[in-house]
């Protein structure tokens, strides 16, 4: 395989003028879809089936269009030509164009992820506003149960994908290689590939709405998922595609963290955020295939006459749930580990203290990852009367509170006697601790079988997972944005707007989700467009608080746009942090460091006479 650097300097680069390559990709994808669709129709009529059958045509058409999309967006010139022994071409446009094609620079990919997922987050957040509008009073308010279920399902899957991907996609890509002193990720092409899976995911989710959407929520439980509208198929294809991206990205993260660390960066000097990304990637690598299995079986049942889950033909509906949660429980740690890692990364510079109990915190991350493999059926206490397996899953689930407690140990210990410097990233990091505390403790109620039989599938669950996934995951995303934005753009986010964003988001979030615990205890089941009249006043309060929460993001978007263009210049290290990403310019040069980084000490040696974490030698900059 030829590589980009093999290409002669005068080789014609692509994507530097004309329409961005993403448009060509879309065109090729359309052609690919037509080819696949026509082929399917032809084969179907040859073997005596009706040619015009939506779902088989879509499945095959989509596979063709996905391949064509990658080639069109730039993988052909930069990668595919090499397979045929022809020289590959560089993709290195400057300015805004570099974000709209098959770019292999991890810093470009990090920003692609960040912007793309913030857009998805805002869209799915808007859907939540519509859901809360429907629930502001009993009965039909704005769109009724069928549309509610569609919007709820779309909100669910988009937010799950955002939570699974945003922090690791944006900051795992941009920051992790810098933190370990690498010049790029181990597999730059796979890295570009992992990002360009996402526009097809978005296209499928939008497309699903033109064929009626789907109404199973993000979990896609069968048999409902096998008897409803074709939108369900789009959901399954989108989720599988997202899973492929996760796996491809995970291979890259693991290899990079293991093999590309700078000299001297031993395991016990590895920054905690990199630890969290490494274990997140290991979880993705091991478990994501399970979701592809569950959804492929669903597709097979829907499209090709399979009966994996059809009880009439001997299938087992509960089997789907086992495979689904075998992935989806570890996935909740894929969602929160990077944010917890970011929180622990942010505490030392903003308390001016070393990370407390570094080894315990690493042990916590590893312990959570290992145990997350054996807890999945805590989502299924009510599927059968067999209490024996419930006991086992109750035990493993409650055991997870021990490594999770170690994360709190590190946080609490670092705060103690620190110099609390309450810049916006620190406020978000503190909110992660507070929210995750509530999310974690309320999860123990759900792990307890006698309590869960009442709380399962109620708003208690809704409140609990929003406290973990939004309260820790998304607050951690914003902590990361405020912390690393200066590194990525060279400019600081506006502190005043940041604080307004923080306080509205923090208060709005807690006012929205705290009352939901009460709703769950008082008989409000989840995923409903309507509820009993005595729950109306609390629901009204929750809806209004939810709209308040929604407002906070206006301040964020405004802040991000204004600061990116005209923000105060950040300098190399605005927070006085010690890890390697702060020992290069903001933004860093193409190969990340002006010289060779070498790690010589602790990443969090605040307050002591310890040497710096690292030096960068050989370039023009010298030791930082």
């Amino acid at each position: 395989m030829a590589t980009t650097t093999d290409a002669p300097d005068d080789a014609p680069a692509i994507g530097s003028r004309g329409l961005p390559l993403a448009f060509r990709g879309a065109l090729w994808a359309g052609i690919g879809f037509l080819a696949g669709a026509l082929l399917t129709m032809a084969i179907r009529s040859l073997i005596g089936l009706s040619a015009m059958s939506l779902e088989p045509v879509v499945v095959v058409g989509y596979v063709f269009s996905l391949l064509a999309w990658f080639l069109g967006v730039g993988a052909w010139e930069t990668w595919g030509k090499g397979w045929l022994g022809r020289p590959t071409v560089a993709y290195s446009p400057s300015g805004w164009r570099r974000y709209f094609g098959f770019n292999m620079d991890h810093k470009v990919i990090g920003i692609q992820y960040a912007v793309f997922f913030i857009l998805l987050f805002l869209i799915a957040g808007l859907m939540a506003m519509f859901m809360r509008a429907e629930l502001i009073e009993t009965g039909r308010t704005i769109f009724g149960p069928a549309s509610y279920n569609r919007v709820m399902s779309l909100h669910g899957i988009i937010m799950v994908l955002v939570a699974v991907t945003a922090v690791s996609g944006a900051f795992g890509n941009y920051i992790m290689p810098l933190q370990i002193g690498a010049k790029d990720m181990a597999f730059p092409r796979l890295n570009a590939l992992s990002f360009w899976f996402w526009p097809p995911v978005a296209a499928l989710l939008i497309g699903s709405q033109f064929v009626g959407g789907w109404d199973t929520g993000w979990t896609g439980y069968v048999p409902l998922a096998e008897v409803n509208r074709p939108g369900q198929l789009f959901y399954a294809l989108a989720f599988i595609t997202a899973g492929l991206s996760s796996i491809v990205a995970a291979v890259n993260f693991v290899t990079t963290a293991v093999k590309m660390r700078a000299p001297g960066l031993t395991w016990n000097r590895l920054p905690i955020f990199t630890w969290s990304i490494l274990f997140t990637a290991i979880l993705s690598l091991i478990f994501t295939q399970a979701i592809a299995v569950a959804l492929s079986m669903t597709i097979f049942d829907r499209v090709a006459g399979g009966a994996f889950f059809d009880p009439v033909l001997g299938g087992i509906p509960v089997l789907y749930q086992h495979i689904f949660w075998f992935y989806s429980h570890p996935a909740v740690y894929v969602m929160v580990l990077p944010s917890l890692g970011a929180m622990l990364e942010i505490l030392p510079p903003f308390t001016r203290k070393p990370l407390f109990g570094y080894k315990w915190a690493v042990g916590g991350i590893i312990g959570i990852s290992v145990l997350s493999a054996v807890v999945w059926a805590h989502h299924m206490y009510t599927v059968n009367a067999d209490s024996v397996s419930n006991i086992g899953f109750m035990f493993t689930t409650e055991a997870i509170s021990v490594p999770t407690g170690l994360i709190f140990l590190a946080a609490v210990g670092t705060l103690w006697r620190g110099r609390l410097w309450l810049k916006t990233p620190m406020l978000f990091a503190l909110a992660v601790i507070f929210n995750f505390l509530i999310g974690g403790v309320t999860g123990v109620f759900l792990s307890d079988v006698p309590a869960d039989v009442q709380l399962q599938d109620t708003f208690w669950v809704v409140a609990h997972f929003h406290y973990t996934i939004v309260g820790a995951g998304i607050f951690g995303l914003f902590a990361s944005i405020y912390y690393w934005f200066p590194k990525m753009t060279g400019r600081l986010l506006n502190e005043r707007l940041g604080k307004i964003h923080f306080w509205i988001m923090f208060l709005g979030f807690n006012l929205t989700f705290l009352p939901m615990f009460w709703l769950g205890l008082n008989g409000m089941n989840r995923r409903v467009a309507d509820y009993q009249p005595n729950l109306e006043s609390v629901n009204r309060f929750v809806s209004l608080a939810g709209f308040f929460l929604g407002i906070s993001f206006i301040f964020f978007v405004w802040n991000a746009i204004v600061s990116w263009r005209n923000g105060e210049p950040a300098g190399d290290n605005p927070w006085g942090a010690r890890t390697l990403e702060w020992m290069t310019t903001s933004p860093p040069p193409e190969l990340n460091f002006d010289g060779e980084p070498e790690v010589i000490g602790d990443p969090y040696g605040f307050g002591s006479e310890q040497p710096a974490h690292a030096t960068v030698t050989g370039g023009n900059g010298g030791t930082a």
């Binding site: 009965g139 039909r140 279920n149 055991a399 709190f408 009249p533």
Partner: protein, 301 residues
């Protein structure tokens, strides 16, 4: 006393105050809605106990958060904090206390609750429930009574009932909030749930008395609920007799299934609620009238 010691004592006091306040709130607030079943007592005990356990645990983190924010907040850090990278004793104590707490939660209320709920009871009545998009079909096999989409489910107080739960199409779930327990209704699978009823109750007064579908099953899911009334045995017998089958005639072989005749039922207004007809586009069929009926019903209570 050194300042370090003072800080530790102060945060300890703060922790004790927060814990006391929290426990006071937990013990004086009744968070649980009406409870009508024996097995549900375990659920309520478990939830209350878990609240009691949670308070001191949460108070540790909250006390440190509050104390450090008040005590050590700086506007601009002029110097680094003390280089405390670990504290062997504290970290080990933290670890082992969390192991002990996790074990405690597992043993009690976890294991004890599971065993208490699984206690064998003598079954007085069998009720078969079949979830159908989007209503419940009910049968009393011993009495030979079958009800397709009934207007309400009446059950005798003071008896132990075994619910045999399944589904005809997609997954639904059995949940009567006042009974606490939940059990999925899965096609091709029969799940049994034993519940001993201790209290009378009526959906008209308390919406905890409703057989609510608790697993997303499509458009009609939210309103897939069947009003429940728990009454004295003779009232139940009358209801069952009026419903079409002979009441409490154990041992009689009733092969002929009897369909409930809605028009003879007193609770006419409920029929419209439970018989929502979800057409192609479910939204449309949720008429204003149905919503109105609902609101009126519960206002009476």
């Amino acid at each position: 006393m050194t300042t370090e010691r003072k800080d530790l004592v102060s945060v300890g006091v703060l922790w004790a105050v927060l814990t006391a306040l929290g426990e006071w709130a937990v013990l004086t607030t009744n968070l649980a809605p009406t409870l009508a079943s024996k097995q549900g007592e375990e659920t309520d005990k478990a939830i209350e106990l878990l609240f009691i356990y949670s308070v001191p645990v949460m108070a540790v983190v909250l006390a440190v958060l509050i104390y450090t924010l008040v005590r050590w907040r700086v506007s601009e850090p002029s110097e680094d904090g003390p280089p405390i990278a670990d504290h062997r004793g504290f970290s080990r104590a933290w670890f082992w206390i969390s192991v002990a707490l996790a074990t405690l939660v597992f043993l009690h209320p976890g294991l004890t609750g599971i065993f208490a709920m699984a206690q064998e009871e003598e079954i007085d009545l069998i009720v078969e429930l079949d979830g159908v998009q989007w209503h419940w079909d009910v049968a009393f096999p011993e009495q030979g009574v079958t009800m397709e989409n009934p207007a309400e489910l009446v059950l005798p107080v003071g008896t132990t009932i075994r619910f045999d739960i399944t589904s005809s199409d997609v997954i639904h779930a059995f949940w009567v909030p006042a009974f606490r327990l939940k059990q999925d209704a899965i096609p091709g699978q029969m799940n049994s749930l034993t519940i001993t009823l201790l209290e009378n109750g009526d959906f008209a007064d308390d919406d905890g008395f409703r057989l609510q579908c608790a697993e997303l099953c499509g458009t009609g899911h939210a309103r897939m609920f069947l009003p429940v009334r728990v009454v004295e045995q003779d009232e139940f017998d009358d209801w069952l007799a009026n419903a079409g089958g002979p009441a409490s005639m154990d041992g009689m072989d009733m092969t002929e299934s009897t369909e409930i005749d809605m028009t003879e039922d007193e609770d006419m207004d409920m029929t419209e609620d439970t018989q929502m007809d979800m057409g192609e586009d479910g939204d449309m069929d949720m008429t204003e009238d149905t919503q109105m009926d609902m609101t009126e019903d519960s206002d009476e209570g």
